[in-house]
């Protein structure tokens, strides 16, 4: 999803007032993957989330820091401060979709393959059966993949496009 085409009201049944765009677009793409994969058939603790980014929540960091510079510590909105951490975006996705498996946030300086490798390894190590992989960059776009253990996908009658070797 391109951030130019995304608006917060595309995110259903969620109060987005103090939630930054970085989180909102990540949640939206994750939800679409979740629904398309019928992931509600999988136990919550058997689904993980892998969030990868080059920029991080850059806008939120700049916003909080500009408040600190203008008004000192008291200028910060305590409800918006957590937006500067990638873990907040992870949490919003996991809470929104009730996902309790292994979750991680990476900063990338290379290809998304590093994040895909992590998700694949978590499935291989049997920490989860499926993993939602997101690559979100501030003011650019969010790209997502739903990765699942082959046998589990077949068992659920889910078609798949690619197989990771």
């Amino acid at each position: 999803m391109d951030t130019n085409k995304f608006t917060k009201d595309m995110l259903m049944n969620f109060d987005t007032r103090v939630v930054d765009n970085f989180s909102c677009i990540s949640m939206y793409v994750a939800q679409r993957l979740f629904l398309a994969s019928r992931a509600s058939q999988i136990l919550p603790n058997q689904i993980g989330i892998t969030l990868a980014t080059d920029t991080g929540p850059y806008q939120s960091v700049k916003k909080v820091q500009s408040k600190i510079i203008e008004k000192g510590f008291v200028g910060i909105n305590p409800s918006e401060f957590p937006n500067i951490m990638l873990s907040s975006c992870l949490c919003r996705i996991s809470t929104y979709l009730n996902i309790c498996g292994p979750s991680i946030a990476f900063y990338l300086t290379g290809p998304l393959s590093e994040a895909i490798k992590y998700a694949k390894i978590q499935i291989k190590m049997k920490r989860c059966l499926a993993n939602i992989i997101l690559h979100t960059n501030e003011d650019r776009k969010c790209f997502g993949i739903f990765l699942e253990k082959r046998a589990n996908a077949i068992g659920r009658g889910m078609p798949f496009r690619f197989e990771l070797k």
Partner: protein, 390 residues
């Protein structure tokens, strides 16, 4: 459900740098002597000095200073680990550097008013720069998952070795005093200006700290015929997510208990074999209460005999590196046969009934230690390490 580890993964070197010392022994002596470091006044002085510089005119200077500090601490600790290792990196074909940091280079953006690609991607360059300064030819992985980042780096390092993706791993965590973080935690009313007091009746919040700790992980088989140390075996890791709240912990602890369960299954260890726990123990009302309840619920038969200690009482909360410092504490305990006290613990909260180490260290040689890390955002990482019988 958890995968069995086919071959033992061991920690063969340790490197650290913090106010508690620049070696394992120095660090442990500081914990044993209950020296509470980085008093609030000193922290505020450092943070305020950084803040003053950040709003000053010469932003490049301010950015360089913060960047230099974090790189210096990370590189020093990493070089300490390589020195402790005393091995030859050229013998390894695929080295991985896995680092966890909560806020990393966030403060570097503080004075940047320009908006360009180099600024936007600034937050992601930390680990790559560390590897370059150490002249390491390796893959770099940067985990940024709040307080769970360092533990998660160690856990992922284990996974990479177990899956034969790498043949040598350097894993750990780094975080430094940050104006942004301090400001935010102050607004969240999370800081105890009298210093954190984990599990104490009068605890009011966290203290902040800074430092870096790295470990060298390798398979036991790569140590055959090599004269290198083996500090411990990393035998299990469990990861879960509370799916509850961005800053609060889920009070029923269900996700944490899932993670403990997974770690035990991976290690093929019975829960009754856990003899010592390095608590996350932040000193907040909520964390310590929930953590103690979880220990009691999950270990109903042994919770009164499991020793629990909390290093944040000495070193403060080092953000993303806190789990790595937890593992450092565990290794020091396995090496020395002593469990350090919780330094600032005066009066135990009456609602907490686990066995906290108070006043003086305990002479005890545990075989298995559990290290807890519960991050903002709900990621829980449980690591298990085991003493190696020589």
């Amino acid at each position: 459900m958890m995968s069995d580890m086919k071959e033992k993964i061991v920690i063969s070197a340790v490197g650290t740098l913090s106010a508690a010392g620049k070696s394992l022994d120095q660090y442990f002596n500081t914990l044993l002597n209950k020296a509470c470091l980085l008093k609030e006044e000193k922290i505020l002085n450092i943070v305020n000095a950084k803040y003053q510089k950040a709003i000053g005119i010469d932003y490049d200077h301010s950015m360089d200073e913060y960047y230099s500090r974090i790189i210096y601490i990370a590189v020093s600790a990493l070089k300490n680990a390589l020195k402790d290792w005393n091995g030859d990196v050229t013998k390894f074909k695929k080295i991985g550097l896995v680092i966890g940091s909560g806020l990393g280079l966030t403060d570097c953006l503080m004075s940047r008013t320009d908006r360009n690609t180099s600024s936007e991607n600034l937050l992601s360059i930390l680990v790559q720069d560390i590897s370059r300064k150490c002249e390491l030819n390796c893959e770099t992985i940067y985990i940024s998952n709040a307080c769970a980042a360092g533990s998660q780096a160690i856990s992922y390092g284990m996974d990479l070795l177990a899956c034969n993706e790498n043949d040598l791993i350097i894993a750990g965590g780094i975080d430094v005093l940050s104006v942004t973080a301090y400001a935010g935690f102050s607004r969240l009313m999370s800081i105890d200006i009298n210093g954190c007091k984990p599990f104490d009746k009068n605890r009011r919040g966290i203290s902040v700290g800074e430092g870096a700790t790295f470990f060298i992980l390798e398979k036991e088989s790569s140590l055959k015929n090599e004269k290198r140390k083996m500090y411990c075996e990393l035998c299990g890791a469990g990861i879960s997510n509370d799916a509850f709240h961005i800053v609060q912990m889920r009070s029923d602890g269900e996700a944490i208990m899932d993670a403990v369960d997974d770690a035990l299954k991976m290690a093929k260890i019975n829960k009754n074999d856990i003899e010592t726990i390095i608590a996350h123990g932040t000193g907040t009302l909520q964390n310590d209460k929930i953590e103690s309840q979880i220990i009691k619920s999950f270990f109903p038969q042994t919770y009164q005999s499991i020793f629990v200690t909390a290093p944040k009482s000495v070193i403060g909360h080092i953000g993303g590196a806190s789990g790595a410092f937890g593992m450092l504490t565990a290794i020091a305990i396995l090496k020395n046969g002593k469990i350090p006290p919780i330094a600032s613990l005066d009066e135990i909260d009456p609602s907490i009934s686990i066995r906290l180490v108070k006043n003086k260290y305990v002479r005890y040689q545990p075989k298995v230690i559990m290290v807890n890390a519960f991050g903002f955002g709900g990621t829980n990482v449980i690591l298990l390490c085991k003493k190696i019988d020589k």
